[in-house]
Symmetry: C2
Subunit: 302 residues, 2 copies
């Protein structure tokens, strides 16, 4: 099986780019060809009245996926994680840059598989891949995706607007993501995030990547609040305990805070717009110090 070593950077890039669908490789609004012909990508900025969203997010072999994972799912996950953050900002994703660091012994087939997965996910979400770089590394494979998006400033929820008595809700179900393989196949809640941000005065929103136990305290702290969670009501995936729903992480569901009346209105309208996806009231924000604590989820440096 041929490896990427010895191919030459230009030839390798050519083979990788051939994996991208035309609409991803040469998207509307991209005015340069930074993938192989320019130093930078040149793109149209968001339309008037919109702000620019920026997110960078990396995957490392042995940390975020095991070496035997289907490379197309690895590529997919790299982009889907960044999409999940754009979703939490209520934004429409636009352009991606891909920085790929490849060990010399990676097969060409694996590298092409990564690009294939990236391309398929980008096409699904109408994202153009407009630039990047391919490096050789003495370490494990890593894949860093930077994604831009657009959102109206007044629709950007942020994490800091929550107030005591706001209702906390989550989309979907939690727990068991790594064990079940869902960490590779999850759907970033892009449509849901945009709809929520556009139609409701969402006071704070984030995506659950490190687990509710790590992420909810961040949202509450940024809002200057405490929180209370009704653990029995946490929407769990099959065969998951409450502890797993709190601590496992990699759910990529949305967590949001809304004033009580708005939450009630949202619960009425949600099932009509998104009938297949649960939306569950899991607790509330409180005055600072008046809430509870949760077992912490994943921390890379703890």
């Amino acid at each position: 099986m041929p490896t990427v070593s010895g191919l030459g950077e230009n030839r390798l890039l050519e083979l990788l780019l051939a994996e991208l669908p035309p609409a991803v490789r040469r998207p509307r609004g991209a005015l340069s060809d930074a993938l192989d012909a320019d130093d930078c990508a040149l793109v149209r900025p968001p339309r008037r009245g919109r702000r620019l969203l920026l997110k960078t997010d990396g995957l490392i072999a042995g940390v975020h996926f095991t070496p035997d994972t289907d490379p197309a799912l690895v590529g997919r996950k790299a982009l889907a994680r960044a999409l999940s953050d754009i979703a939490a900002a209520g934004g429409k994703p636009r352009h991606a840059l891909v920085a790929l660091a490849l060990p010399a012994d990676i097969t060409l087939e694996f590298a092409r598989g990564l690009y294939h997965g990236l391309g398929a996910c980008a096409e699904e979400h109408d994202v153009g891949i407009v630039g990047g770089e391919t490096l050789r590394t003495p370490g494990p494979l890593s894949l860093t995706v930077t994604l831009t998006g657009a959102v109206r400033a007044r629709h950007f929820p942020g994490r800091g607007g929550g107030r005591p008595s706001d209702v906390l809700l989550v989309t979907g179900r939690l727990g068991g993501s790594f064990r079940s393989g869902r960490h590779l196949t999850f759907s970033p809640r892009v449509r849901e995030g945009r709809w929520l941000a556009r139609h409701f005065p969402v006071r704070a929103m984030m995506d659950l990547s490190d687990g509710l136990g790590a992420d909810l305290p961040r949202l509450a702290r940024t809002s200057g609040c405490g929180f209370r969670v009704d653990r029995e009501r946490l929407p769990r995936h099959e065969h998951c305990t409450i502890e797993q729903a709190i601590g496992d992480g990699e759910d990529y569901e949305l967590l949001l805070a809304l004033a009580p009346d708005d939450a009630t209105e949202l619960e009425r309208r949600w099932p009509i717009r998104f009938p297949a996806l649960p939306l569950t009231r899991i607790g509330e924000l409180t005055a600072p110090g008046a809430g509870e604590e949760l077992p912490r989820g994943h921390d890379h440096f703890a």
Copy 2:
């Protein structure tokens, strides 16, 4: 010496962010706090009439710098490389995202040094650091910087507009960058690149990162041309041979192609605007196939 391991991600981030100057940490035009409080950075897009430039670029320990390098210079280099690409696009740099993958045994002092160098370089170039992430890696330290910029579409030179008989010029001097340490201390030609793109009909421009021998063929190929270089005239750093000026790489000087009359006019005006920096005519573009070849510079995958 304490390492980053065991600190916890939140505390580590707090210590790293404290290294950034206030104007870098909370730049004008940044509307969110993606560094520790939001999923995405939210920024004002470029002004009306400008396009958005996007660039991502990574450094890996053991590849782009040795482990005993001053971490502030490593942080500086990571941003300066991306600045060099924005310069080659004639752009004004705006916002940066920093993805840092840290091995567990890196000292806190080293990690803070990286951010210190990033912050100082960002301040010098009026760049806001508006987002990023910090990961743990089992491999070598890596630092991926994504940089945005703004440029008028008609000023973006790209690499594809060169024509036979265009004059090739380079800024500064070439060769010996790694050996001399200049690869850590070079000045990205941001002012020069903007001035060139604004005042002259530059037909093609790029920055010399892999060496003239690897980069010039890329510019020529994208322009559908060949090239001829007057090797004796190559502006070399002291103690460098012609071969080193062609092959060493990491010069981060600008290479540009201009129509002959425009080149003459540029040579008249350049020393008035940039008296301390040489600008040297090194050859010309030719019809495809009519030029010569150069020994190739650096190729990660060759």
